[in-house]
């Protein structure tokens, strides 16, 4: 935690809204990205991420510097995600099967990609990833995102989500299985497979 951040926290605890907004500016992209992959929708992601910041604003007085500010805000984010169980929230929940090019034209029309230069291939890739994640339960999706996106250990995830480490491992394995199935990335026999040892 930088000195600047500690000062901002102190001011925010004294109900300084400007200080809190500066504090939010340090982490809002990470929280928004997490919310986007959890909710599959930019609008929902914005609502969800702003709800996280509102809760943090209300509870900033309870922050005791026992962890980093980001760990604390991530905890609030996880609780917000788990509490948000609206059925209309998961818009792509019923989608199944591989995405064709025609489907991509129809279904991806609604997706407002911020990077307009994205090609159709990228859009299909994005849609396939989202579709794979949509086939998971919200909790499994959250566990996968915490593992992949946040780099948390299984023990940390289990403590944060309220499950066993075995459940967390299974959720990650299931998410990867869905992604491999949806993205069709299974390596064919005889295909040249890079040895992982060469990475080291």
């Amino acid at each position: 935690m930088t000195e600047n951040e500690a000062e901002l926290i102190k001011r925010a605890q004294a109900r300084d809204t400007d200080a809190f907004c500066q504090l939010a500016g340090l982490y809002e992209r990470r929280i928004y990205s997490l919310a986007l992959h959890y909710s599959h929708d930019p609008q929902d992601a914005e609502d969800l991420s702003q709800e996280v910041w509102l809760k943090a604003y209300q509870a900033i007085g309870q922050f005791r510097h026992e962890s980093t500010f980001y760990t604390w805000i991530r905890r609030i984010t996880i609780n917000c995600f788990l509490n948000r169980q609206r059925t209309s929230f998961f818009r792509w929940r019923t989608m199944n099967g591989p995405l064709t090019e025609d489907d991509a034209h129809n279904e991806l029309r609604a997706i407002q990609f911020p990077n307009v230069e994205s090609s159709l291939n990228n859009r299909i890739l994005f849609a396939n990833v989202m579709r794979a994640l949509a086939q998971l339960t919200p909790r499994q999706r959250l566990i996968f995102l915490l593992k992949h996106h946040e780099g948390m250990t299984y023990e940390e995830i289990a403590a944060a989500v309220g499950c066993s480490t075995g459940t967390a491992k299974k959720a990650v394995a299931r998410a990867l299985g869905k992604l491999r199935e949806q993205l069709n990335v299974d390596v064919q026999p005889g295909e040249c497979v890079p040895c992982a040892a060469s990475e080291y």
Binding site: P114, F126, H148
Partner: protein, 218 residues
């Protein structure tokens, strides 16, 4: 001995943390084609996911608007509502919450002993209440102070002098008298000598002559 099934979780971990150069691959991984294929597949899936996440990142022009909307919502939020408390009340609430959530490890035998003690206490309390309820209800005695005159018997020591005349009887007579007394078993009433008070001597003396003797008497 290499075990593909056991290696699977390690492969996922390895693929996710691929940037961590210090992490070593599982033992036997390099020599197992199945594990290498598995690893490559997982890694490709994760790369695709990474790419999708990168694609989904909002452009730089998105953030000023987002920030304004967030600030607007924060400013509309009333202060001190929904969880925020002033520091003093917050400390008290926090300490109470911590106290409520505090737990101490207690050995199972102690818990069992406590439980049995409580159960027996309740049983005996109910039993004693039932037994006391069967008898008459005794009201506690009330203390009343009342003065009562009680006659006190006073003992008086009276000294009385009694004079007795001593009789001198012959031994035979004495023995006869004593035998008679034993036969009758009635003690002779003691001669009450009233003393010489009121004694008046007679004017004429009468003399009676008794002849004979004690031994000639028949």
């Amino acid at each position: 001995m290499h075990n593909c099934k056991a290696t699977k979780n390690d492969l996922i971990e390895l693929a996710i943390r691929l940037t961590d150069r210090n992490q070593l691959p599982p033992a036997g991984f390099e020599n197992c084609p199945a594990c290498r294929e598995e690893f490559a597949s997982v890694r490709n899936a994760l790369r695709a996911t990474e790419a999708a996440i990168h694609l989904a990142r909002p452009a730089g022009s998105f953030w000023p608007g987002y920030h304004e909307r967030l600030r607007g919502r924060l400013e509309r939020e009333p202060r001190g509502s929904n969880g925020w408390l002033p520091p003093t009340r917050l400390n008290l609430a926090l300490s109470l919450r911590r106290l409520a959530a505090t737990s101490i490890p207690v050995p199972v035998p102690v818990v069992l002993a406590l439980f049995i003690f409580i159960v027996f206490s309740i049983f005996f309390m109910m039993h004693s209440r039932q037994s006391s309820g069967a008898g008459p209800i005794l009201t506690p005695p009330s203390v009343i102070t009342k003065t009562i005159e009680v006659p006190v018997v006073k003992e008086k020591i009276v000294t009385r002098v009694v004079y007795r005349t001593l009789q001198t009887t012959p031994p035979n007579l004495a023995s006869r008298d004593s035998a008679k007394a034993a036969a009758n078993q009635q003690p002779e009433p003691p001669a009450i000598v009233q003393g010489l008070e009121g004694f008046k001597p007679a004017n004429e003396a009468k003399l009676t002559i008794i002849k004979g003797s004690f031994q000639n008497e028949k």
